[in-house]
Symmetry: C2
Subunit: 133 residues, 2 copies
Amino acid sequence: MLLYRPFEHHLNIELGKHGLYRAEWTILYYLANNESATLVELAHYQRVEKPTMTRIIRSLEESGFIEHIPGKDRREKPMKLTELGKKVYAEVRVTVDRFEQDILEGISEEQQLEAIEVMNAIRNQLISKESGK
Amino acid sequence: MLLYRPFEHHLNIELGKHGLYRAEWTILYYLANNESATLVELAHYQRVEKPTMTRIIRSLEESGFIEHIPGKDRREKPMKLTELGKKVYAEVRVTVDRFEQDILEGISEEQQLEAIEVMNAIRNQLISKESGK
DNA sequence: TATATTAGTTAGCTTAACTAACCATTAACC
DNA sequence: GGTTAATGGTTAGTTAAGCTAACTAATATA
């Protein structure tokens, strides 16, 4: 908690240089690694409700970073990165990589991996708590 | 980031049972461990701006959980827990402790401590980045 | 075929942050 | 010692990012 506030603050500053919000960046990230995804899939990934994702997607669409491709199921709205989206992602990636490298300075890779493992374990615990209700 | 969302969500549910918000809980926590603190001190601790803290404090004051004690410097407004505040803190503490124990199940103490250490290191890096500008 | 489920949207609300501009009080400087 | 700086706090107004409730359109199921 004490970590998250300054972390988000700095990340937002980095992203702000590219005119992006944190919530948008996360979606670009997902689509850069998954080719295409529907709104529900993205909402589930981010653990937010559908209306929240509707808004994020609309904003990214208006910026021309993502577009929807037609699918079989006409209810669904699968989204993918546009060429512009891919370009911007790559650019921001550089900034974010440098930022991450910066804040992880002096922490051994081993320690990093272990910390990530712990966090994943907690996350899974939290999520299973949710569905187990 | 992927951890924080579900974590905050669940913590908010736990706190909601006591009619508290996360931001308020953090201040109760600080005052339970520090006797008294001014608005600026609390804002610095939480890494938020003064107006944000003004609002949180007002809400806690209206709930009767904290009160301000007069100090020498008449600009300052040192706050401390009321008897009610202490009581509520102790109660919520129990819920939050159980919650934490729950999500840390199956993670060795050693791993927990190391993860905390890593997070503190990152936090310090972030904060020093701030002041070093 | 009628009903239930799923995908997504709209409308309206809330929390928790921010900046800019301000007042009161104390500290610092010639 | 009086003017100017800095510090502590508040008010007003804005924003991002989430939520629920209620809805439409399309597909699945009984």
